[in-house]
Assembly symmetry: D2
Homo-oligomer: 476 residues x 4
Amino acid sequence: MTVPTDLSVSRSLSFPLFLSLLLTSASYTDSSDDETSPRDKQQKNSKGNGDFCIKNIKQADFGRREIEIAEQEMPALMALRKRAQGEKPLAGAKVVGCTHITAQTAVLMETLSALGAQCRWAACNIYSTQNEVAAALAEGGFSVFAWKGESEDDFWWCIDRCVNLEGWQPNMILDDGGDLTHWIYKKYPNMFKKIKGIVEESVTGVHRLYQLSKAGKLCVPAMNVNDSVTKQKFDNLYCCRESILDGLKRTTDVMFGGKQVVVCGYGEVGKGCCAALKAMGSIVYVTEIDPICALQACMDGFRLVKLNEVIRQVDIVITCTGNKNVVVREYLDRMKNGCIVCNMGHSNTEIDVASLRTPELTWERVRSQVDHVIWPDGKRIVLLAEGRLLNLSCSTVPTFVLSITATTQALALIELYNAPEGRYKQDVYLLPKKMDEYVASLHLPTFDAHLTELSDEQAKYLGLNKNGPFKPNYYR
Amino acid sequence: MTVPTDLSVSRSLSFPLFLSLLLTSASYTDSSDDETSPRDKQQKNSKGNGDFCIKNIKQADFGRREIEIAEQEMPALMALRKRAQGEKPLAGAKVVGCTHITAQTAVLMETLSALGAQCRWAACNIYSTQNEVAAALAEGGFSVFAWKGESEDDFWWCIDRCVNLEGWQPNMILDDGGDLTHWIYKKYPNMFKKIKGIVEESVTGVHRLYQLSKAGKLCVPAMNVNDSVTKQKFDNLYCCRESILDGLKRTTDVMFGGKQVVVCGYGEVGKGCCAALKAMGSIVYVTEIDPICALQACMDGFRLVKLNEVIRQVDIVITCTGNKNVVVREYLDRMKNGCIVCNMGHSNTEIDVASLRTPELTWERVRSQVDHVIWPDGKRIVLLAEGRLLNLSCSTVPTFVLSITATTQALALIELYNAPEGRYKQDVYLLPKKMDEYVASLHLPTFDAHLTELSDEQAKYLGLNKNGPFKPNYYR
Amino acid sequence: MTVPTDLSVSRSLSFPLFLSLLLTSASYTDSSDDETSPRDKQQKNSKGNGDFCIKNIKQADFGRREIEIAEQEMPALMALRKRAQGEKPLAGAKVVGCTHITAQTAVLMETLSALGAQCRWAACNIYSTQNEVAAALAEGGFSVFAWKGESEDDFWWCIDRCVNLEGWQPNMILDDGGDLTHWIYKKYPNMFKKIKGIVEESVTGVHRLYQLSKAGKLCVPAMNVNDSVTKQKFDNLYCCRESILDGLKRTTDVMFGGKQVVVCGYGEVGKGCCAALKAMGSIVYVTEIDPICALQACMDGFRLVKLNEVIRQVDIVITCTGNKNVVVREYLDRMKNGCIVCNMGHSNTEIDVASLRTPELTWERVRSQVDHVIWPDGKRIVLLAEGRLLNLSCSTVPTFVLSITATTQALALIELYNAPEGRYKQDVYLLPKKMDEYVASLHLPTFDAHLTELSDEQAKYLGLNKNGPFKPNYYR
Amino acid sequence: MTVPTDLSVSRSLSFPLFLSLLLTSASYTDSSDDETSPRDKQQKNSKGNGDFCIKNIKQADFGRREIEIAEQEMPALMALRKRAQGEKPLAGAKVVGCTHITAQTAVLMETLSALGAQCRWAACNIYSTQNEVAAALAEGGFSVFAWKGESEDDFWWCIDRCVNLEGWQPNMILDDGGDLTHWIYKKYPNMFKKIKGIVEESVTGVHRLYQLSKAGKLCVPAMNVNDSVTKQKFDNLYCCRESILDGLKRTTDVMFGGKQVVVCGYGEVGKGCCAALKAMGSIVYVTEIDPICALQACMDGFRLVKLNEVIRQVDIVITCTGNKNVVVREYLDRMKNGCIVCNMGHSNTEIDVASLRTPELTWERVRSQVDHVIWPDGKRIVLLAEGRLLNLSCSTVPTFVLSITATTQALALIELYNAPEGRYKQDVYLLPKKMDEYVASLHLPTFDAHLTELSDEQAKYLGLNKNGPFKPNYYR
C-alpha cells in the first residue's frame, strides 16, 4: 500500500503535538518490548477477541490504572455516562475514530460506548500512542489499531483496518487532523452515504473541511470542535498563561523576576503569556499589528513597541502571532548574549529558524529541546524547540483542557447523530451555543462552583430561556 | 407646547448619567447667575450672531479654556482635524445633534465643523450642560440651545429650535438617547427624506432604533456607536476596573484590603470590578448564570457561589448583571451590619431598592449619594446612589473614554455621509471593523504606542490586507 | 500669653494632616455657627458640668451619631472595653491628651475612660477639630478644650487649660506632634515628677523625643507608637496602595490604564504605590538610591531608571523618598505637557515647588488642591497639593488605620502605667513585640480571620511561647 | 577511618538539597564511567599536578564549558575579578572549602583564586558533585577532592585530604552545613590558631555555630551568610514565588487556574507561594499563628482560616511554616481524593509523613518524587517529594540566587580576612549592611538597572553617607 503524497504533508503539520505527548507518556511506557511488529503478532484478549492490533495485550492492567487516574480528572465525561444510564443517545452509532490514543482518549471512547456507540479506532500520530492504554482498550473489547512508533505504512494500514471491515460500516467520524476523513474520501467515498457527520478537533482538520466545503465537496455535516469558545479560551488564554512559565522553566530554569521580555502578538495566547510573566515580575513589552489588540495591551499595562526598539535589550523573545517571519535573522543578529527565543503561536514559521542554519553560526544542543546558537563573536542565543511550539514541545497539556475537548467531541457526536433531518446541511458548523454552555456547566463541579439560576421573572426580563443560551454566539 | 408623554419616560432612562456630569461640572459652573430664563434673554456673540440660546454669552472665555484643556486629552479628534485640512469629508453636511454639552462635546463639534459640517445642537439632558462651554460654542458661531437646569418644556423647545429653522434642513442626526430622533419622527417626519443617516450613542437610543427597525419604521440607515468594540471594552472592562474603586472610595472611604466582596455577574463589567478589587487585596466571590462566564471566573481565581452562600459574610455587594431583582429584600435582610451595596450594571433594577422603602426601615442620608438603611435591631446597610449606577453617579467618566466615543461618532458621520448609494439600507449597523481599528489607532499615540506593520509577504501569508481589518467582526 | 517661637515652627510641620481631616469633616460640620469665640461663651452640659471649652454644646447629639458610626469600625477598642469590664487597668490614671479631635479619637477617649482613666484633652491642630464630636464628648463629661479654627493663641490656651487645673495633675501624656509635651516641659516641668510616661504618635513628636533623650533631658519613659510594625505597614504599604489611586482620581480623574508613571523611591510607600498602579494597568518605572530596594524593584517587575531617563515620557511623577529636591526645576522643565506631579513621601520638600514660583511661569488653580503650572510655550504640568502629601491632602485615612493607631496608643498607656518599676527607663521605647501582636490580633475579627494556635509540642519545637511573641523584634 | 556518629546525623539534614542538584546535573553527567573508585586511581592534570581526587580528569573540557556558561549568569563575581586586577584582597589567604561542587561553585573558586587566595575543596554532599566540573577545576590547578556517589567513608576522607596536608594550613574556612568546621574541631583543633574566620552558608551550619557560640566554644569569628537580606529575600520570597509553580508543574502537571489551595504559614516563603498561585488564578487560603503575618495575609487578599475549616475542600496543601506536624494524619484523612500535598518550608517535619506509613494505606510511586497514598476506600492523595522540600527536590535553584550567595561568600571572606584586629570577636556576625548593599549593587547590571546617587545636599539632609549604608540593619 502506498501513502498518498498529499496526505503525508498534512500529517507533518500536527508534528509538534506528538512531541508533547511523547514527553508525557515517556515515563509510562516501558522500552523493553520485543522488536516484532504488531502486524506480525496474533494476540487475543482474555475473552478470546482478536479484532485489534496493538503492541502487547499483557500491558492491559497497567493501562487500566492510567485510565482510572484520567477518569478522576475528567468528571464531565463521567457525568455524561451517569446521565446515559437511562437513555442511550448513541445507540446504533458506529463511530470510527482517529485521534491520539492516550488515557484521556480511552475515557472518551469508554464514554461513547456507555452512551451506546460501537467504536473502532486508529492513532492520528505515529508516535503518540500509549501502548498500555491501547492494550487496556483492546482488553475491554475495543477494536484498536495503534502502537507507538508506527511506520508511515503502518499508519495508513491501521486507519484502513478501522474502516475496511466486512459487515460493518461507520456512521460517524471522529477525526483529529483529517487523515481518517481524507482516507475515506479517497478510498471509500461511498461510505459517506451512511455517515451522519464528522466531528473534527484540529486546526488543520478544520481547515481542510472548510476547503472541502468551499469546493462543494463536503458531503456530510461537519462539526468544528476546535473553535468552540470553551476550547479556545482554555487552549489559548488560560492554558498558555501557565504553559509559558512551565515551558521556559523546564527548558532553561530561567528566573522570571526582573527579566525583560517581548511578546509578539496580543491575541488570546499573547494575553495569557503577558499576564503570567507580568505576575512573575518580568517587564513585558508587546508588539502588535492590530490597533485594537494594541490598545488592549496598553490598557493592560504593557509598552507597545516595534520589535527593533527593544530587541537589543530583552532577555526573552516570545512569538504568539500565527504569522510568519516575525523574528528574522536581522533581529536574531541584534539580540544580546543569552537571549532566549521561543514560539507559542500557531505555526513553526514565526521564528525564521532556517536563517540560523548558516555556516558561520554554531549550533550546540545543550538539553532536550534547547539549542545554543553561537555567533562568531561568542554570542549565544538560546533557541527552544527549534522554533516549534513551546507549549506542546516542552510542557504538558492539562487534563482539564483535554477533558473540555473530549466532552465537546462527545456532545458533537450526540448532536449530529440525533439531529432531525435538515437541521444540519453539508457544511461546517460550530457547536450550538447552548451545548458549549453545557460543556462548561459539566466542568464547574471540578471547581466546586455553584451556578445561579434565573427566576422566571428574570428570564422574562432579559428575554432569555432559563436554560440558556445566555449570550450571543460571538461571545468570547 | 406640550411634551408627548411617551418621550418623557424615555428621558428618565438616562437619568443617572446627568448626575455624573453634574458632579463633574459642579466645580466649574458658577451659581451666581441671574434667574432670568435664557429663553427670555436676547444675547449676541461678539460677531453679532444671535442664533443660539444659552445661559450667558459672557462666560465664553472661561468655556474656551475648558475646551482647550479637553483638546489636550482628545488627540484623536485633533488628528482628524489635521487630516481634514486637505479634504473636507463633511463638506455640505448639516448635522443636528443632541448630546450632553460639555467641553468634550465641544471638541467634537468643532472637529465636525473643521471637517466641513454645519452644526446645530441641543442638550440631551436638562442638567448636564456646562453653561460656559455652551457660551464658548455660541461665541464661536455654533447654534447651541442648551443650559443647565432646563425645564421639561425648555428641553423640547431647545430640540425644536435646532431642527425647526427656515431655510435649513439637517441631513445627518447625531443623537444620544434618541429624543432628537424621536422628535423628528413625531413632528417633522418629512425631514427624513433628506437625512442620510443617524448616529446613536446610547444603549437606550440604540434599543429604540432596533425597535423601529423591527417594526419596519426605520427610514434611514443608523449607526450603532454604542456597541463598537473599542467603546464596549473601554466603557466596561477598563473603565469599570477603575471606577469601581473610585466610586466606592469617594462615597465610603472604605479600605479595600481584606474586605470580602461579592460581585454579581462576570461579564465585562464584572470582570473589570473583580480584577480591580482582587488587585487591591479584597477577597472576591462571583455569582453567574452563564456557565461559560462562570468557568472564566473560576479560571481567573474567583470562587463561584450563589448569593445566599456568602450574603451573611460579605462586606460589599456589587451588581453587574443587567438583570433585575438580583439583590432582593431577603438578601438585604441577611447582610451584616455595615455592608455596602451598590450597582455597576446596566439598569437601576438590579437592587430591589423599592423593597427597602417600608415603615420598619429607617433611611438616613449620610453623604451625597450615600444612604444608611437601618433595621429595627440597629443593623445598617450602606446603599450607594440609591441603587443607580455607581460609576456614573459617584465617579467620573475618563476623558479618554469620551474621546473614543466622540471619534467613533465623527467617523460614523463621515461613513454614513459619504457611503455610496446602497452600502447601507434602512437598518441599524455597527461601524465597519476597519473603522473601529482606525479609532483605536488614533488613540495609540496617547500611550506612545508603536504599531507594527505587516510586510507584504506576511499579509499574503495571513490572507489579510496590510491596512486591516485584522480580525473577524465578532472579535472582542 | 505669648506663643513661644520654637513651638510655632513645629506645629506647622504637621500642617498637611489637617487638610485631610478638614476635607473629611467638611461635610459634617455646619458653617452657620455664630462668630462668638468659644472662650467668651459660658456653656454647661445637661448635667451642669462646665469644665470644657468648645464651639457649641448643642451639637452633641449629632456628634454622638458620628461616634457611634466610628465605633462600628473600631472593633479592637470596643473589645478592649469589654475585657475591661472586670478589671480597670487604667484605674487612677489621669491622662492629658493632645490629638486631632475626631470621632475616632472620641472612641479612644471613651475607651480610656471605660478602662478607668480620667481624661482632659486639647486639639493638636487648629483646624482639625470636629466641633460636634467635641460637643458630644463634653456632654459625656469629658473636659475638652478645642474647636475648629482656633487662633495660635487659642491653641496654647486650650493646652494650658488641660494641664493647669488646681487639684488635678496628669500622670500620663498622650501626644500627637509633641506640642503638649513641650508645653509641660516649658511651663510646668515639675509635673513630670508624677508622670509615668508619654505616648507619642507622630513622626515629628517622636523625633523630638529622641532629641530630648540624646540630650539627656527626657525625664520619663516614652513610647514611640509611630514605629510599631502594624502602624508602619498599614500607614505605608497597605494604605498608600489605596490612597495613591484615590488621591490621583479625586484630583485629576486620570485614567490609570496605559499611563507611564515614575515612582521615586521603593520603600514601603513606593512599594504600595507601584503595586496599585501596576495592577491598574499603568507602566511603572522606579528610581532608587538603595541597591537592596532597587533589586526588590527589579524582582517585582519594575524598570529601575534614573529620573532623567524617563522624565520626558512619563505621564505621572510620584515621589516617595522622604528626601529633598528629588524633583527639581530641571526635571519639571523637561516634563511633557499635562504631566501630573505629586508627593506621597514624608516631607513637603521632595518636589522643589519653590523653583516653580518664578515670573515666567503662570500658576492656575483649576480645582481644590490642583494647580496648573504653565510654561511660556503653553506646556502645563499638573501639580497636586502644592507638593505636600497627596494621601493626606487629597484622600482620606481609612478608619482601620486610625483604629490600629488608637489601639496601640491605648495599649501603650496601659503598659507604661502598669509597668513595674524599672522596666522602662528615661528613654524612648517601641511597644513590646507581643503587644504589637496583640494589636494585630484584635483587628483580625474585622476580616473574620481565624488564627491557628501552636500546640505545646510545636511551641517547644520552635522554642516559642504559645502566646507569642512569634517573631524577632526587627520583623517587618 | 570511622565516621563520628554525631556528624552523620547532621549531614542528613541537608539531604533534600542534593536531590535538587542531582536533578539538575543529571543531564550533564554521563553514566558510562568505569566502576573504579577515584581513591584507587592515579590521575594527573596536563601540567603533571596530581594533588586532587576526582572521578575522571578527562572530563575537564566538558566541565570547562559548564563553568563558562555559569560565568555568564554570575556577573557579580566576574565584576569582583575585574576589580581585583589591581589589588589582591585575598593575597595570602588559604581557603579550605566544603560546598556543593557545581559550575557555580567553580566560578566562586576561580574568583577567590583571582583575588589572591589558595583553595582546597571538598564536597558537602555525597551526591551533588558535577564530576566534569571537578575535573575542570583539577585541570585548572585546584586541589579538589570530590565525586558524585561518594560513600560516607569517602566523604570524610575527602574533607580530611583538604585540611590534612603537610606544609599547608588553612587560614579561612568556607563551609556549607558545618561538616568541615566540625571535622577540624574534632580532629585538628589547633588549626584554629591560624584561622581568621569561618564563612557559613546553610541554616544547619549557622545553627551549629550559634550553639558553639552560646556554649563559649566558638574560637574564631564566623560570618552568617545565610541570613543576609539579599539571600533571604531571594531564597525565600522571590525564589519560592517561582519554584512553587515549577515544582508543582514538573511533578503533577496540575492546572493552577481555579484550584483551591491552602498555604500554611505566611512568612516570606508563604508570601511568595501565595502571590504566585493567586496570580495564576488559584483561590488561596492561608493559615498563620502570628497575628501580624495573619493581618498581612488579610490585607494581601487571602482568607485566613484554620486548616480544619478548608481541609475537605482544597485541591492543594502547601506547608511553609518551619514548624513540625502542621499537616497531621487527621487532616490527611479528611482531604479529598486527588489532593496534592507538599512542603516548601524549612524542615521535612511539616507533613507527618510517618503517620502515612501504616498498613491500611497503599503507597504507589507514580513518577519520580510523586507518590499516591491510597486509602482503603480508594481515595488517593498525591504526596510530593515524600514531604521533603519541594523547591529543592523538584525544581531548580536559579543561578541568580546562587550568584548572590557566592558573591556574599566572597565578600564575607574578604571582610574577615582583612578586618582589623578587634573588629570581630569570637562570635557569629551578619555581613555589614553596607556589604549587603554592595552585593545587591553588583547584581543590578543583570537587570540593566540604573541606581540614583544622592547629591551631597541630599545625603546631608538624610544624615546618610552617599555610599550607604542606606537603611538600618534590620531592614528587610
